[in-house]
């Protein structure tokens, strides 16, 4: 299993000299096996991922956690969607009132975007992510609703005996103190994962001003990782106003706070599992 980070920023792309090391593109992570490519979220980082997978004939599955713009904005620039020879599966969160196509079409249609969903040359198969684990070309995939405004999923991908959990937008602290697994959002997805890619957008002080916005402080991310027994925490969804130096400081805090390993996602980072 190979994991690659194509976009690690949260909320809005934030290119600039102060974000060069961790990158300015929004959420996009690929998870590859010999048989398939799963891409977690379709933020602006998806454009470069598309270039990398254009000539690749493995099936591609896009797993969307939710439909906020920083997680879908790359769709219109994902080159494999314009390849008539391809079938692209898009999995997303359920809604009580509208199917995934209707919700995605809000963005993928004028006046917000010139290209409609039906204009893609590839055959696009849309799916509500199921409640129970399912298989994608040899991967075991699980999805669960997590605390974030609107219908939002976290994912877990198991391949062989290795696993990655991906909860990029998540505020478990809104559900109470992070101390009991059964009462903590995201716990079961993250349980004993080899890699936990998790929202670590805020400093403690920032979180105090943004309770209910759907994101975590570094301490909360570390607390969940420890509670769940995750091996390696990768801080993700970096605050767009945070420079590389600030992310460095937050990473140091995570490393000093948690019992296991900690890292911060940066564009171009790869993890072999």
């Amino acid at each position: 299993m190979k994991v690659a980070i194509w976009g690690s920023r949260g909320s809005i792309a934030s290119a600039g000299p102060e974000t060069v090391r961790y990158g300015g593109n929004t959420a996009c992570v690929s998870v590859e096996s010999d048989d398939a490519v799963c891409i977690l979220d379709a933020g602006s980082g998806l454009r470069r991922a598309g270039l990398a997978f254009t000539a690749d004939d493995r099936p591609i599955h896009l797993l969307l956690t939710h439909l906020h713009m920083d997680h879908i904005q790359g769709l219109g620039f994902f080159r494999p969607l314009f390849d008539p020879e391809r079938v692209i599966h898009i999995w997303g969160p359920p809604s009580a009132t509208q199917d995934l196509r209707t919700r995605l079409t809000r963005y993928l249609s004028p006046p917000l975007f010139p290209v409609r969903l039906r204009d893609f040359n590839a055959r696009v198969e849309l799916h509500d992510a199921p409640l129970t684990p399912w298989a994608i070309e040899g991967f075991g995939v699980s999805a669960a609703t997590v605390i974030h405004p609107g219908s939002t999923l976290g994912y877990r991908i198991d391949g062989g005996r290795r696993s990655i959990a991906y909860l990029p937008d998540h505020e478990p602290a809104l559900g109470g103190e992070i101390r009991r697994g059964d009462w903590t959002s995201g716990h079961d997805l993250a349980a004993r994962a080899n890699v936990l890619i998790h929202d670590g957008q805020y400093t403690t002080e920032e979180y105090g001003h943004r309770v209910g916005w759907g994101h975590s402080s570094v301490e909360h991310a570390a607390a969940l990782a420890d509670l769940a027994g995750a091996e390696r925490l990768v801080l993700f969804h970096h605050e767009p106003d945070h420079s590389d130096d600030v992310v460095d400081q937050m990473l140091e805090l995570a490393r000093s706070t948690r019992r296991g390993d900690a890292d911060a996602a940066r564009e171009g980072m790869t993890i072999e599992l």
Partner: protein, 139 residues
């Protein structure tokens, strides 16, 4: 123990912050949580009741009709709300901390997920004052 649905986690957190008595039950009617105002009403701390099986908990809380007959499980407001998939209001009697059989009213709201699954019910309770209740401010 597996993690509860996030809707139940948020409902518990909401209940924990409210001044009105609230009981949270799962899809089979088992008590998941009640808040401090409900502890006063039930005469039991949640931590005491937390580990008990469904039947034992229900017997402990012992909701009754006005004539003393036990309220059947399927008549409980949370069970009705989940079965009918709409809010349910039930008046019944319950022994409080002081041993007085006190009239109580409860309104239950079914908690249904975006996928249409009934996960539990959020039950708000009101204790009706009785002649045995101390006057406000009495010590």
């Amino acid at each position: 123990m597996p993690q509860y649905a996030v809707e139940l986690i948020l409902a518990r957190q909401l209940a924990d912050g409210l001044a009105v008595p609230v009981l949270l039950v799962d899809e089979r009617g088992d008590t998941l949580f009640f808040n401090e105002p409900a502890e006063l009403l039930f005469g039991r701390r949640f931590d005491e009741v937390d580990a008990l099986p469904f039947e034992t908990r229900t017997a402990l809380l012992a909701p009754r009709h006005a004539d003393g007959r036990p309220l059947a499980i399927e008549e409980l407001p949370g069970m009705r709300a989940m079965r009918e998939r709409r809010p349910a209001h039930v008046a019944f009697h319950m022994h409080g901390l002081d041993g007085i059989l006190r009239p109580v009213e409860a309104t239950a709201i079914p908690l249904e997920s975006a996928r249409g699954h009934v996960l539990g019910a959020f039950v708000v309770l009101w204790a009706q004052e009785t002649s045995a209740d101390p006057a406000p401010g009495a010590t």
